[in-house]
Amino acid sequence: MAELAVDKHVKYILAVEKNKDSFESVVMDHLRMNGAYWGLTALDLLGKLDSVNVDEVISWILKCQHESGGFSGNIGHDPHILYTLSAVQVLALFNKLDVLDIDKVATYITGLQNEDGSFSGDMWGEVDTRFSYIAICCLSILCCLGKINVEKAVSYILSCKNLDGGFGCTPGGESHAGQIFCCVGALALTGSLHYVDKDLLGWWLCERQVKSGGLNGRPEKLPDVCYSWWVLSSLIMIDRVHWIDKEKLVKFILDCQDVENGGISDRPDDAVDVYHTYFGVAGLSLLNYPGLKAIDPAYALPVDVVNRIFFSG
């Protein structure tokens, strides 16, 4: 079986960070904050977070904060809840949450909660359970979850529960592994997992594993390494991960590596990118792959970072 080419992946991530002029990079310009979270968390899991210049990263992050308290995907772009979470997560990685005016960030997020408990992504009103997860995760990291109406947030998420046990983006929306991760994660963080039918959802999730050993995101779709995170972390949170074949999944993820140039792709022999590199490494961490730091399935941050937030001081 192939091994994880740790050094190659580290080199790849650092190179992507520096290369701002390729077409790929410019097209992804607006989500650089997410890219920073994927790249830096992957580096931390690989034990190499110290390869980057902390001050540069933090200074850039703070330049992306707007008056409203929210963060944009990159300098010049508008604020959005998606990038606000990534910014907070990166600061948590570096143990630099103290550079934030926490009330300001919290105000931005609480302002996005709607009457029915749902969350909008920004002032333009798109509603999606992804944003519910983001709000809950972000305020949890900042230790001020009580600033939103948690009960209503939970009841909105439950209104998106489907008859197959999964969750969609809005009520009635088809179950999709990414949405399931967000909803299960949000319910986990709010102590509400007892509302999940773990056996029903567990079966739906474990049937994402196809013959090749990879996981897809919903029935009759192709396997993709990113689902090694969305499906796997969901299974772990509801304690049903033993219902898949972990070894086969490890093999699938390792087969998606570009062992020469570094990076991991969605499927074997496809083009690599930072997104799939992070999810591949995070998935391997959840599968107890040796040499990797343990990652928390709900916060999507290394366990030692989460423990540091909750149990020290």
Binding site: L163, G172, D270, L286
Partner: protein
């Protein structure tokens, strides 16, 4: 980011890419200038359209266009025609963007935003959707948008149901269509819409429909989950029912005041050791309910006032909903022989999570005998190791000679009227069983075996109180064994299901009503999961050693447990022990030779109440005597799990975590512990 082949970059590719990048960068810079300076001229807005055509994911450009529209709508010279023209322009830009990427969140939301302004033709939208859904019938953005359009047009659920039918006939392998069908049907059932009033008429047709999908290609998952939902609709009764209780109806309970077990297994009573002067009454419902209190459940006995009884849900955190409810009945310390009558649901108020009332008032009664503390027995050293003695156990597999009627029967007989109404359920199940047997005779497929197993289990569960045995258990066990070989990827799933069937099969013949056993041995059974708790409420001493349990989920229902062995299992973390926190009578616990400490990933971290899930407060800081010595970051799980235990005896050897340092932490967390790994503590 998805589905692009990996290829080595050639110099000419890199040059082209670089040129494209520069062009896009220039476009973006110009766009930012317009956006930040709030310039909304025709030229500026046109530039944003160019940008979105190349990169529909550039979300700030969509925001800018909304600002431009609003700027325009606020101008004094705008009129209905010009407004429509402006908005039509937006719709055109969205269509172009969707052509680039029909999964763009930004594009779909922009379209919704425009339509919400109310000036655009909504009929067009259905036509557009048809195009998209023909191109990709699984595009969930399109399905979500369709839901929005259908609601705006006030299209009926019946019309939308017809649409899903058309989509499915075009291609059975359309999970999205099946999903939407389930949402619509469910809404029609709830509304009791005309034509959907009687499930018994609708479900058989749906079964016919889904068969076409499953039988055409059994390996295609599109129909599997819809079929499971139909099965659930067939067997689930809306109102909650009481599944079992302890004490059982017609039983005799002997309360013994001392700690020494004095061999009353040979007596005709269930003996419960009680050092607290009270005993629990446990109600186990067939689904989670709320509203169990001294009004909805009345306990009449000579020695206690009903109003003093506090019913508590056995639930996670502070949820007021649970399947299992417990109240503690105080007994006087003197000699006593008395009858207790428990009436459940004679007053309305017990409600399921879906809002259905408990509608079959039931009553159970049992006798309580109190045997006061004997002077002699206090001479027995309290520190004497109480082992799970061989003779105390009813050995698994040895069936009792007497014919035993489970106390549960007597409750269900009162629910007579439900049975006649459920003939259609039996018929539907019987028909399905026949269909799947036929499928399996033609194709040896996984979904065939799994569905047949589920159907047989459901059939047995529905017949259970009347038939005394679970007729199909052997066949179900064999089906799961086949599946464990046929679909090795999901081996553990089938093993877990099989474990529960095994437990339900044997525990059939045990009763708390007559024999009075209190010990149960379930070791060496390859059990990977526990279940059938409604039949195990009577157990006080449980031996689950030498199995493959990695979870004890649900064990909290066994409120009478005082001794538990989980020796030689596969428990992987301390948080897996959380169900034991609700066992107030637990005094002896053996978790030796498990895997606690072996794994870096904790799979029960969030199923457990802790600060991480915000279900527990910062109790950490309050108990200074413990936390000042305990390295909290490393031991918070131990603290949360063990601090509420009242153990006399614990065995933990054989777990990676159980080094001397950890054992000394445990002793600090549990000052009342008398024995750890066989060693007496002072």
């Amino acid at each position: 980011m998805h589905g692009r082949p990996r290829k080595a970059p050639k110099p000419e590719d890199e040059a082209a890419s670089s040129a494209k990048a520069q062009k896009l960068r220039a476009l973006q810079t110009q766009f930012f200038s317009f956006h930040h300076n709030k310039i909304y001229t025709k030229e500026a807005v046109e530039l944003s359209a160019k940008l979105l055509e190349i990169n529909p994911e550039s979300y700030t450009a969509w925001n800018y266009r909304k600002l431009a529209v609003e700027h325009y709508l606020n101008l004094p010279d705008c009129n209905p025609d010009s407004i429509k023209s402006v908005l039509d322009d937006e719709l055109r830009v969205v269509e172009n963007a969707l052509r680039q990427n029909f999964k763009s969140y930004g594009a779909w939301h922009h379209r919704k935003w425009v339509l919400s302004k109310g000036h655009s033709s909504i009929d067009n939208e259905l036509r557009l959707l048809d195009k998209f859904q023909k191109a990709d019938s699984r595009n969930f953005h399109a399905w979500n948008y369709r839901r929005f359009v259908a609601e705006s047009m006030k299209r009926s659920e019946q019309d939308e149901l017809k649409y899903t039918e058309d989509m499915i006939y075009a291609n059975f392998s359309n999970y999205s269509a099946w999903h939407n069908r389930s949402v619509l049907l469910s809404a029609l059932f709830d509304k009791k819409a005309e034509g959907f009033l009687l499930k018994e008429k609708v479900l058989p047709e749906e079964y016919e429909f889904i068969h076409q999908a499953i039988f055409t290609d059994p390996d295609d998952q599109s129909g599997w989950f819809y079929h499971l939902w139909l099965l659930d609709q067939t067997v689930t009764t809306d109102s909650p029912l009481l599944a079992s209780s302890w004490p059982g109806h017609g039983s005799d309970v002997l309360l013994v005041g001392d700690r020494c077990y004095n061999g009353s297994a040979f007596s005709p009573f269930s003996a419960l050791h009680s050092d607290s002067g009270s005993f629990p009454i446990v109600l186990y419902f067939n689904q989670p309910v709320r509203g169990v209190n001294s009004s909805t459940v009345t306990v009449e006995c000579g020695f206690n006032k009903n109003e003093d009884l506090l019913w508590k849900p056995l639930s996670a955190s502070n949820s007021q909903t649970a399947r299992v409810w417990v109240a503690h009945l105080k007994v006087p310390s003197s000699d006593l022989h008395s009858t207790v009558e428990v009436s459940v649901g004679h007053t309305k108020g017990i409600i399921s999570t879906r809002g259905f009332e408990y509608s079959h008032p039931s009553m159970l009664s049992f006798k309580v005998h109190v045997q006061p503390m004997e002077r002699d027995s206090s001479q027995v050293s309290v520190a004497e190791s109480i082992s799970l003695r061989e003779e105390n156990f009813k050995v698994y597999g040895k069936q009792s000679e007497e014919s035993i009627i489970d106390s549960f029967d007597q409750l269900i007989i009162k629910n007579g009227h439900e049975t006649t109404a459920s003939n259609w359920r039996f018929e539907a199940l019987a028909k399905e069983i026949e269909c799947f047997r036929e499928l399996l005779s033609l194709v040896d497929c996984k979904i065939g075996k799994l569905t047949l197993a589920r159907l047989l289990k459901a059939y047995d569960a529905m017949s259970y109180p009347f038939a005394n045995k679970l007729v199909h258990s052997e066949e179900v066990l064999e089906l799961y064994s086949d599946l464990m070989k046929l679909d090795r990827t999901h081996y553990q799933f089938y093993k877990d299901e099989r474990s529960i069937v095994l437990l339900q099969k044997y525990k059939d013949s045990v009763s708390s009503a007559i024999c009075g056993p209190i010990c149960l041995r379930l070791n060496n059974l390859s059990l990977s999961r526990m279940g059938a708790f409604e039949k195990l409420l009577w157990v006080q001493m449980l031996d689950l050693s030498h199995n493959e349990l990695q979870s004890i989920e649900g064990l909290k229902a066994m409120q009478l447990l005082s001794c538990l062995s989980l020796r030689n299992n596969k428990l992987r973390s301390l948080t897996a022990l959380e169900p034991l926190r609700k066992l107030k009578l637990l005094r002896i616990l053996d978790i030796s030779y498990n895997q606690i400490g072996d794994h870096s990933i904790d799979t029960t971290r969030y199923v457990c109440s802790s600060p991480l899930s915000h279900s527990v407060g910062s109790e950490l800081n309050r108990d200074e005597t413990v936390t000042s010595d305990v390295a909290l970051i490393n031991n918070w799980e131990a603290f949360y799990i063990f601090k509420d235990f009242n153990l006399n005896q614990l065995d933990i050897v054989g777990n990676t975590i159980a080094d001397e340092k950890f054992k000394s932490v445990l002793v600090k967390i549990m000052p009342k512990l008398k024995q750890l790994d066989g060693k007496l503590l002072d």
